[in-house]
């Protein structure tokens, strides 16, 4: 069962987390992937690391969102998942 946060609207981002036990996989989809793909990935991975997320699949559908928006939506998705599953499939606490 997946969890989402954010929206597929301009300057927003839709983050989907699929919990699992396999090593973490981050999938980035963005119209500006060529220019900003690495920056988006760095932002997402930094938040996931900050919150101790090391497994599962995290898909990010960017609509040209600012870094702070991406950060907020990833945090929201993690917190929703933790509330729902009580840590199942997502390891660790915020570091």
């Amino acid at each position: 069962m997946t969890i989402t946060a954010g929206k597929k609207e301009k300057q927003d981002v839709l983050v989907t987390i699929s919990p699992g036990t396999e090593p973490l996989q981050v999938i980035i989809g963005s119209k500006v992937d060529t220019l900003y793909g690495k920056s988006i990935r760095d932002t997402v991975e930094a938040v996931l690391d900050e919150y101790g997320v090391h497994t599962g699949i995290v898909a990010v559908e960017d609509q040209q969102a600012l870094d702070l928006v991406i950060r907020a939506r990833v945090i929201a998705a993690i917190q929703r998942l933790r509330r729902r599953d009580g840590e199942r499939g997502i390891e660790g606490e915020r570091t």
């Binding site: 954010g6 600012l66 702070l68 928006v69 907020a72 939506r73």
Partner: protein
């Protein structure tokens, strides 16, 4: 502040642009503009915006969720440690509610190492009971710096039609002005929600200004210029205020047959101070 622009707190596109339109303040809305299932992500998004985004010299206000909702305490837990925004409390009807919020904020300020009393409040009165208790509510906390009017909810609780005559809300507006004036608070008029009717917006703003309001909340950038214009000092007012101040400093006690006493000087001083603050805002925008 003349214009206070409401902005939904879960819409990045609007939040990014909120500071560029010349509103004196931005009111980020966690209440009516955010669906229940989005409250959590809106709170996080707003938090990141307040931490990182430069909104120029616009004042920052957050309308949190009502005290009878399950959300308001989490709103405060997120916002108070940031030490960035005034809190607007909606649907206040009794002074005890203000005291309750005040205590919660005091506790969070202490936990966060923030100076006691740093967080200020705007009180939103939008029901008949709230209006009738306006004076006791205004005295409910030293954090309160303004009272705002919420007309739509008020009208839905009474037989007043918002599309009717503008004088229909005169009693309510005057009571708010009087309560605010009793405690040295600012007061801000309600939004006008019909975007296709700027004439009525101006009419409402003029009515509110004539009754003593300091400014008006708006829901769209197109409304800012009209509201700023209505609540700005006119050339005639400025000229009058300057003459009063000049003459009073020279010991003159009468101008054009009107006695210049302390209240008249205070009115003139207020006009010049308001004009100065508006000019400063325009310069920085």
């Amino acid at each position: 502040m003349r214009s206070l622009l409401y902005c939904p707190a879960n819409t990045p596109k609007m939040m990014i642009q909120a500071g560029i339109y010349g509103a004196n303040a931005i009111v980020f809305d966690l209440e009516d503009a955010v669906a229940p299932e989005e409250k959590d992500e809106a709170r996080i998004l707003l938090s990141e915006f307040l931490k990182s985004m430069d909104f120029g010299d616009a004042g920052l206000i957050v309308r949190i969720n009502a005290l009878d909702s399950p959300y308001w305490e989490q709103d405060l837990q997120t916002l108070i440690p940031l030490q960035r925004a005034v809190i607007r409390l909606p649907k206040i009807e009794r002074p005890e509610e203000v005291v309750r919020a005040d205590r919660s904020i005091s506790s969070l300020e202490e936990e966060s190492g923030i100076p006691a009393g740093w967080t200020k409040l705007h009180i939103l009165l939008e029901t008949p009971l709230g209006i009738e208790n306006a004076f006791a509510i205004a005295a409910g906390s030293k954090r309160i710096e303004a009272i705002a009017f919420g007309a739509e909810d008020y009208c839905s609780s009474t037989g007043i039609r918002r599309t009717g005559e503008p004088y229909a809300l005169d009693y309510v507006r005057s009571r708010i002005v009087s309560a605010a004036g009793s405690y040295g608070l600012a007061c801000y008029d309600a939004v006008w929600g019909v975007l296709s009717d700027p004439e009525r917006l101006e009419q409402e703003a003029r009515r509110a200004r004539a009754l003593g309001f300091d400014g008006k909340s708006v829901i769209h950038p197109d409304q800012i210029e009209i509201v700023n214009s209505v609540f700005s000092c006119t050339d005639e007012e400025l000229s009058w205020a300057k003459r009063i101040m000049d003459k009073s400093s020279n010991g003159v006690s009468e101008i054009d047959g009107r006695m210049i006493d302390a209240p008249v000087v205070a009115q003139a001083r207020r006009i010049l101070q308001l004009h100065s603050s508006y000019a400063e805002h325009k310069h920085n925008s």
